[in-house]
Amino acid sequence: MIAELGHYALVLALSVAIIQATVPLIGAWRGDPGWIGLAKPSAIIQCLLVTVAFAALMHAYITSDFSVLNVATNSHSAKPLLYKISGVWGNHEGSLLLWLLILVLFGAAVAVFGGNLPAPFRARVLSVQAMIGVGFLCFVLFTSNPFERLLPAPIDGSGLNPLLQDPGLAFHPPFLYLGYVGFSMAFSFAVAALIEGRVDAAWARWVRPWTLAAWCFLTTGIAMGSWWAYYELGWGGWWFWDPVENASFMPWLAGTALLHSSIVVEKRDSLKNWTVLLAILTFSLSLLGTFLVRSGVLTSVHAFATDPARGIFILAFLIAVIAGSLTLYAFRAPAIKGGGLFAPISREGGLVLNNLLLSTACATVLLGTLYPLFLDALTGEKITVGPPYFNATFGPLMVPVFLAMAFGPMLHWKRGDLQGAMQRLKFAVSASVVALFATLIFAYDGPWLAIPGIAIGVWMIAAALEEAAYRIRLFRVPVTESLRRLWRSPRSAWGTTFAHAGAGMVIIGIVASSAWQVEKLQIMKPGESVSVGGYDFTFEGAAPIPGPNYSAVRGVFQISRDGVDIAVLQPESRTYQDPPMDTTEAAIRTSWGGDLYAVIGDPTGDGSWSTRFYNKPMIHWIWMGALIMVFGGLVSLSDRRHRVGAPVRGKAAKVAAQSKSPSTPVVAK
């Protein structure tokens, strides 16, 4: 009964979405306040209805209602509660419903908190948002109904893939979706602006927090996914350039570019055309990701149960959304042209460079991801594009991004002074030169690329810190004055500091862990010992242990350095019953120096076990750096101007006209 209620709520949500997608749009065109006014209540009702549907599916999972086909195929009564809940989105149908829920939540948020947006504009935004909703609701209802019944109901379900029964993965998809769907707001704002024919600082001030929030979620989601791959898959790797990883990485790259270009729109009323295009492309790439994961077009470790009918549907939707918005862009873009001019060396110039490089990098990833498909379609030849391609193309494109990243915040708007910026970065210059020589001396026998790699990471961190010190005039004015500046300087500037320093940490983590990792594979008998990069791993034995819905073998390894015991690692090899599957649980000891990583494999039959050890220096800097980047995003999100709210359009234009001074942002009261 509850499942039918959920289904019914979805049908109702579809009808509401159809109304929301059309009536307010026509109303805004005709200037009819009644029709315009329909946008807000319908967005809220649509949100409530989808929430009911989602709650109904959640209920079916928690109560293990196996008469619902989706629950029967993806859940099991013996599963811990956390995985019953995460099982809701651990499958195709449920994850689409989650996607939809996030979409309508965001729509309702604009409806409720968007009071300071002009009513016709808000109506257009909500209409566009509802169009996306219509597409996804149709998709769920017609091809992927999560409420389908299975009669007679089986005694028990067939279980969730054991690899997915992991806390890291329980929250990985929701964060990714929050990111993907968050970009739908930027998209809706962009399309609404194209329809309306104007983009201004108020527009950017609305788009930016959404993009920023989506970016934070997506960064968290990607970081979680790679962390999960690192400790759960037991290969010691954390990024594989798999098509589905790329599918989440492309919107991230485009979203990062959008984040930066929208600053220019907000502060300088320039780059508007490009920003609108970028907003469309970012969401298009999110949709492309959805298509790639669910259609089976590319070979990937991630593929959901794939079905050609679904593939056709998403593709049709994808093309409708992208082609529609890009056609609109082609014809309406001239209406939103104009804006401030700037010299090549300026803050704007730096942001343009950032955008050029990030979008080129994104295109490179897109080409590599789709290339096997192109080749297969044209010649029938089967190939895979792997890390060598991406390392050779993506890496070199990102190096200038990292180098230039330091200068951007140091340059003035309109016309900057590169030499002056360089002088102000002398601490960062010396820090990276020191890093260069230190790496050269201590790690001269490693891969040579690691040496400039570490120096670049240090450069990014030092430059971010030095920019902050310059901003608060540290050591140049009394400390109290610096503290006052520290408190008073805009949070968005602090966000930049954290995000850029975090990116530097990620680089150091990547370079150090890949250049200097030590890997040992061997067969060991209890009592034997292996040295891994200065640490001794002694195998003390392996014994079976029971788990809630699996049985496991746990190995015990004593780790010592120079004869001193420092840790015990207990990796497991688990065998799940429903569905039958083996998984590895790596044991990892994290310290400042890096990770010690142990995996236990299969017994050989004569009392020996295959074992695998890694010593990965500084690897956790990757995830710590990502966390700090997200923290930077959140700090920037808490900036006063977002909390105070976007200025009313008319006023903003007037204020902008009055204040011509280049570096003063327009702050509306």
């Binding site: 893939n161 104007r198 201004d200 009323d269 320039s270 295009l277 469309i280 492309l281 298009s284 298509f291 259609s295 089976g296 077009v297 590319l298 070979t299 050609p308 593939g311 056709i312 593709l315 994808l318 093309i319 992208i322 082609a323 890009l326 056609t327 862009y329 082609a330 014809f331 873009a333 001239p334 209406a335 042209k337 104009g338 804006g339 401030g340 001019l341 789709l370 096997p372 498909l373 192109f374 297969d376 379609a377 089967k382 569905p579 039958p580 599957m581 083996d582 234009a653």
Partner: protein, 196 residues
């Protein structure tokens, strides 16, 4: 230096419109490829064994089950070889189809128990049913290497001369059976040739 919002826009030159249609054109081209991709099967890597004799092998039976499997068993009639394992999840998905095939008695299906302990494989067959005529136990996966097995399940169609006619990677679904395997089997049985 900024352009006033109300200033009339400069006349559009046709070249600029084309320029702005570029993103759309790229999107449509990619869309076309994606559409083509839906009917392609990226997981199907062509096997070099197609048209060749089956590899020479001789595998013992599973403990407690008669009939092992060797190359010579594959001569004389059209047959299917299904590579399976009790630890393989997708094998369970295709399993009912082989049970049906056995009940209809269209073609003998032989099993290659791949990298699986004898008791585990036997338990699996007892639990879900045994659709196989002969089953060879490839405990180490050595014979699997000769067959080019790189994932389980895989299914091979063998003609009466003992040559490999086609290879299906991944679980055999009803559609694969109806559209691919059964027509090929019918053609081979009438002495014709088949490709799939």
């Amino acid at each position: 230096m900024s352009v006033e919002p109300n200033q009339p826009l400069p006349e559009e030159t046709p070249r600029r419109i084309w320029f702005r249609l570029v993103p759309l054109a790229i999107a449509l081209i990619i869309g076309g490829f994606l559409f083509a991709g839906l009917s392609l099967r990226p997981k199907e890597i062509p096997s070099v064994l197609i048209g060749k004799d089956v590899p020479i092998f001789d595998l013992p039976a599973l403990p407690g089950r008669p009939n092992g499997l060797k190359s010579a068993d594959l001569k004389g009639q059209v047959s299917l070889i299904n590579v399976f394992a009790s630890w393989c999840v997708s094998c369970r998905a295709e399993h009912p189809l082989f049970m049906k095939l056995k009940a209809q008695n269209i073609v003998p299906v032989h099993g290659l128990s791949y990298k699986d302990e004898g008791p585990a494989a036997m338990g699996w067959l007892q639990r879900y049913g045994d659709p196989y005529d002969r089953v060879g136990a490839d405990l180490t996966g050595r014979v699997g290497i000769d067959w080019g097995v790189y994932g389980v399940p895989e299914t091979f169609l063998i003609n009466a001369e003992g040559r490999i006619v086609c290879k299906h990677i991944g679980p055999v679904m009803d559609r694969d059976l109806q559209e691919k395997l059964l027509p090929a089997i019918a053609a081979l049985k009438q002495g014709g040739t088949a490709k799939c």
